[in-house]
Symmetry: C3
Subunit: 641 residues, 3 copies
């Protein structure tokens, strides 16, 4: 303790001393040590011995010293109280006091400032004090468990008041606290059995918070990893990607859970699986609890490339349950390969009220004005005049490496899988493929992995299928051969199912030649394709389209429709699907037309009874579309249909 | 022990003494105390000291006394056995015996009647005996855990025979037992480590059961809470509501689980959420286990306003699993906002065989003759010549307050939400709304809360979404602002989705004017509305109907139909939908017509191929319907479509 | 230890002694006992006493002896080192050594061979060594838990290295290990706290593995139970059934999990419920952990009578999660009442790469060439020139009795239920029914049980509904009356629902008389039956067909069709549905026809738009079909529709 910080609520409780010019006399707590005293300061003391050459006084149980008889102007007996000034701490530790004789002063009570132990350094058997931020407050049938995060790690502190009754009810999530207690071994992890738990307030809290903040910020710094390939277009968004990495690392350091929502297609899984693995590794390095990663990160596939109400509702309820039942902070929401569009805004607006930070890495055409203010971090190639060709999988492999650079060797083939799955025509594609080839993946196998991911995603439905997906993608998979066999199995089955769908549908395609010279194909998929199976209408349309492009070359437009939807694919034609939807909505009254997507690929919904009008109208628009050889549509799996 | 109850199996084991005229000599267990003896009774004794003025005899380790030499007619040595009669217990506790000289007698063995400790008073470290009813028998991998309920609480008693092997296999659920053992602290709760566990039989059991019963009945008494509003119509059903409250409280006191099934709409949630919260609070006050409420109460939404086979099957299987895996009693089934109709009878009949009590609070038109005998409690306004205008939510707010009166402040706005959600035209509505307004809810917000509940229920599907729903309804929610934002978010989204549905469907409504003057609107919702989204056909029909009523005023009938169903709404027309269904079934052969609902609102199912005939026939019937300005239909969300 | 096995890695570590002709001198570990020494062998020794008649030497802490002075040619002092030859172990245990004088030798280090304790004999408090095979390695937040299986049982061994860190990382699943440690009581079971854990390699491993293998094989021997009825046709497949029983018992003994997939119909449940119960009983007798059966066996219903991709994907992911999260071996897959057909091959091929053994008991028409090589065991009556009349339920009752013969009394009625549910016309049916009648089940009730199983399966969907199903089938159900009431409830409801479906559909059946004289009925079930309810189209077609057969007698063909499927039933007509499907596929271009089933019952899928062509073509084929009075179709519930 020093005179400077004596007023800190962490150290002592001072009267409001602003403008108080009276000298201060400190009243030390019994356990104060020599660290809590300093020369020149005044203390309340009690006589514990009278000798010829003076009196010995205690200012705490630990701190005593001599007032030399030359400083005394009266006699004292043991037990007498007086105020003293500390004159000097001698080299041998002896302390010399003088009597403090002023009768007007203010008393400041001083607690002993304990030595703080960093959480990473806790060992069973120690009696310690730690200081940190409350990351979780879980009420058990017995004690209340506080998870405390400091600069070095996170630990549980068990406080018992009464069975099932909340201990220290005034302490809340995110408070900065000091915890004193004994470190015990508990199910193999260490845990603090709490003796004291104080919420820091005012300056003490601010100071500690600042210290923690600086440390979190420091440890949150993303790893510096050279990009897998040199790619100028990609470099533009690297800084924003680092911001996401920093946010995620910091989220882990503070003990907040993370909920990942990703588009359930090849690119979406190439994006989310590496990030999940990197976060799991980082969580395990921060927490000493083997189950922490299971409790703190959850990856969930979404069928649509935007945040559907059903998912929002479930996520929100899950988050609230986690807080109610486990005393967790509400999770950070990480959207991968979806989340950039206006469709997502209402959900974000709501989550904002819930202290749920949101980060998005997406390559779907964004509505930056709409979403930007609501996001804590946002990466999207369109924000840098790039486009969907930089796939989310490519971005997230770099993101994963910024979180855990040791993953690099496991991830070299992933950007190529992502790019091929999303039919990216990025300049870097060949380099990514070479990179994968160097790891033993030829182009055919990379395509197969993408197909297998897509097929697995279809059958897993709302299940994350973590172990299976890791084996398919060969990330976090420990058996190369098993990976190969699994991919072959799934890809072969997927191809067989696609073949069956093609056999049924191809002969029913209706063809017309537009004036522009473009080939237009339409197919009623409800009539001519198997329903409720793989591939679904979106992918079926894509496969039919690809065949026709192969047959004729560009320009080709394909429309696959069902009772109340249509999927559009085009190559070499300048479409603007969002505008078309807008026009259709005006032209076809009571059609209930909605939808959109990218410019040249998308899906449209309408009411069943207006199908003919909508499709006819759509075909007319196609006839008016200009040709443009550079435009080709991305994988149709980017629709929810 | 007294001579009177010496034969109780709880205290001693008597030979069949009927007609046995021989005097009784009690053989006391070594731990019998002075409480187990009384003047005039005879005891087996042993000499433990010989003095000048007589001999000292022990009748148990704890009970000794003097046989005065004046009563002796021979000499005794230490260790000699004899029979004695207790003459007197003196004020200082000294006991005087006489020798019992008859040679013909019957011996009755007497166990010491231990002092019983009330469960609520157990403290770790005590050695105790408790007496209660077995509420659960859970076999763990180690000991067998018995949950014992007495007049004061419920506690776990762990009995160990062999790892994973059932201890005291003769003891069953509901048995009355006496448990002896040491109280230990276990995960923060107290638990008895069982030394002895005896099933009481015969009179002892009956007596204890009677005592427990009286205590349960007493503690089960519902709280006396003044009604939120004065409402004579409501007062008629208050007594029945108290019966339900009593049954539920008693169910908790006996440790039986409760499974709540409720209609998944606004009123159903306004009914079930407060009751769930009240029961959770009550459970926590009875059990010392923080997890108890999670294990003992489960709320589940049902899409239909009756007990569907899928739900019955699952509930029954769940109940049986709970018994098989956790040794729980089968749960009480509480049906809220559904359960009063004939459709529910077969399920109830089956559950009756399963020792699953059933309580129903509903305001759908009941079949009292059909269900009454099968229910343990039934509240329905139609049973008192009232009708659906007393909504289930209104009733259940009072029910919740009878279970936990401390909830009152949280619930004042709920009847208004329920009433508006179900379009109740009850006289008390304005008072309920004023009550809510006093809490800061204006009419608009109350409607929004109802809409938000409905919307959340739609997307949560079979999930109870507890935390989310509590926030929406602002019951058990600790953050007013979050509640408001959440309601706004959900209500706005709901309105947007309704708007989209209206845009699509409204222009396709077919209108005709019936001879009666009523407007009849029909719409093919499969053709002209979005499918598989919010709002579903039932609510869509309702919204279309409301618009037309607003436009024309009454009388209006609206029929929204799909491939194999039709939804009916009417205002100002005297319909009798159940009768119509009956007639249609006769008139339209092979139509498979079924359904029903209330008089003036309902849904009808038929086979797809007969739709035209059914709808035509329905329209004819509408043409014949009389007008009646007082009749208006309740929210159509009361159908499963 | 003997000279022979001194080189075993289990006992000592020998230099490569091939071709080394130098004599061996053993260097015994301090804890070696007299069991580790033998006459004629040489040892390193140290002098511990010098007496007149010689010197005492220690060859280990436990083994000492005398070198008689007659054998000494120089003097020794205490502490001197020398090499000795063991001459003789006298009757009183005294050992006589001679000095071993050769200066050229090789030293072999010898560890003490500890006494091994059989796992079944472990008792808390003992210090033991056990030897066995690693069945599971589960990393907890604290220690690593190894499940060790030896000849007598399975036990957990907890090894702690650091919290959450894998102990003995070199040890893998299936390794043979020796574990030393203290037996402690843990949650009521015993558990070894590991001091040492060594992987056996080379000969030691081979020897132990051989010993375990012989013991597993011995304990895996199926019980000898007399068949419930004498039935020559059945006897042909008994040996194969014993192979399945042996495989399953052995799987349990080795601690591998079992995943049962069964057709979700009456026969499939009559097959799987008894086998599940038998395996649970056997697991409990092998493991000392009450939860073991919950972790080690899972039964799952499948809607289709083959292994659908959705199920494969989920099973595989579940298996991988079990390994990743619980360190379990991948499960054995047991297919009951499905799994014999070519449709299953791709899934099996994939699982083969995953070390997942597969066993199949099925009575659907098999493709033995296709599946045989992929299965570890396969029983199907067609493999012995029998047919579907031997139902899977009949086979599995015998299988269950081979696993746990004590179940016999519970299962006597099950073959009759299975046979009636699958309309088996087996010769043994009457005997099975008599057997059931002797247990109090009349024919009507047996039919009801089958109907109730089917109904419950419908509503339980993907849930195994174990407790409910056990009660319905009265296997593992402890309350006869409850079983009866439950069956009545479900069967009555099922009949009512069937009746409603018949009422709607029957009048819409189209009839024509084929030239062959057969009656052909067709019905558009999408138009004329209720959809998405019980009974589904497959069963609806069957019920319609049965009525017509009853009405006309044979021959009758019934086709129930929907938008993109048709279900076929026939009696007295020689159909070959698989061939028809092949022909249709050629004749109807772009029809996407697939499907099949048995010869005379099956289902066909096609694209909606080609329905008319497919049905017309099908009817033509029916017209050409020959009559054959012996042919009748099995329950249509054997289709997934």
């Amino acid at each position: 303790m020093t005179a400077d910080n004596a007023g800190d609520s962490g150290g002592g409780s001072a009267p409001d001393s602003e403008g108080d010019s009276r000298p201060i006399v400190y009243d030390l707590a019994p356990n104060c040590t020599s660290e809590d005293v300093e020369a020149g300061a005044n203390y309340h003391a009690v006589v514990n011995g009278v000798v010829e050459y003076g009196i010995f006084v205690d200012v705490s149980d630990e701190v005593s010293g001599l007032v030399h008889e030359s400083n005394l102007d009266r006699s004292y007996e043991v037990g007498d109280r007086l105020t003293v000034t500390l004159e000097e701490v001698k080299e041998n530790g002896d302390i010399a006091f003088d009597v403090f004789r002023e009768s007007t002063y203010q008393t400041v009570v001083v607690d002993h400032e304990p030595d703080l132990t960093p959480i990473a350094g806790l060992e069973a058997g120690d009696s310690v004090h730690v200081e940190g931020q409350v990351a979780q407050i879980k009420q058990t049938g017995g004690p209340t468990l506080f998870r405390i995060a400091d600069e070095t790690g996170i630990v549980s502190a068990a406080a018992f008041r009464e069975a099932g009754v909340r201990a220290f009810p005034a302490v809340e999530l995110d408070d900065v606290v000091r915890v004193g207690g004994d470190v015990e071994s508990h199910d193999g992890s260490v845990q603090i059995e709490v003796d004291s738990l104080t919420r820091l307030d005012g300056d003490a809290a601010a100071e500690t918070r600042e210290r923690l903040d600086a440390a979190f910020e420091d440890r949150a710094t993303p790893a510096d990893a050279d990009p897998l390939v040199e790619w100028p277009a990609f470099e533009k968004l690297r800084d924003d990607l680092r911001d996401v990495a920093r946010l995620l690392r910091r989220t882990v350091l503070e003990g907040r859970p993370i909920r990942v929502r990703h588009h359930a297609d090849g690119d979406g899984m190439c994006a989310s699986v590496p990030v999940q693995l990197a976060l799991e590794n980082f969580i395990e390095s921060v927490h000493d609890d083997a189950d922490a990663s299971r409790h703190l990160i959850k990856r969930l596939p979404s069928k649509a490339p935007f945040y559907e109400m059903e998912d929002v509702t479930r996520d929100l309820n899950f988050a609230l349950e986690g807080r109610a039942r486990h005393g967790q902070r509400l999770p950070l929401l990480l959207m991968l390969d979806n989340g950039s569009t206006e469709e997502d805004v209402p959900a974000y607006e709501n989550l904002a009220h819930y202290d749920m930070p949101i980060a998005v890495v997406d390559h779907h055409h964004p509505d930056p004005e709409a979403v930007e203010d609501l996001l804590d971090a946002h990466v999207n190639p369109y924000l840098y005049d790039e486009d969907y060709r930089i796939t989310t999988g490519m971005m997230c492999v770099e993101l994963a490496r910024m979180i855990d650079p040791d993953l690099t060797d496991e991830l070299r083939h992933v950007p190529a899988v992502a790019g091929l799955a999303d039919r990216s025509k990025a300049d870097a594609m060949e380099e990514f493929i070479s990179l994968a080839e160097a790891e033993g993946y030829d182009r055919e196998r990379l395509l197969d992995v993408g197909e297998a991911l897509d097929y697995a995603a279809h059958w897993l439905r709302y299940n994350d299928g973590q172990s299976l997906v890791n084996d398919v993608l060969n990330v976090g998979c420990d058996d190369e051969e098993r990976h190969e066999e699994l991919v072959e199995f799934l890809a072969t089955r997927a191809e067989r199912d696609v073949e069956q769908q093609m056999d049924a549908a191809a002969s029913h395609l209706e063809h017309r030649r537009l004036e522009s010279g473009a080939h237009l194909y339409t197919a009623d998929l409800d009539e001519w394709a198997h329903r409720f199976t793989y591939p679904a209408p979106g992918k079926t349309t894509g496969k039919l389209h690809d065949r026709k492009v192969k047959e004729h070359g560009e320009p080709v437009i394909t429309i696959g429709y069902g009772p109340d939807f249509a999927v559009l694919r085009s190559d070499g034609v300048r479409l603007d699907i969002p505008r078309m939807v807008e026009e259709l909505n005006e032209e076809v009254g009571g059609g209930g037309v909605s939808g959109g997507g990218h410019l040249v690929v998308g899906s449209i919904k309408f009411v069943k009874g207006m199908r003919e009008e909508v499709i006819d109208s759509l075909v007319e628009k196609m006839a008016d579309a200009e040709l443009d050889e550079d435009l080709s549509s991305q994988a149709v799996v980017d629709t929810e249909i």
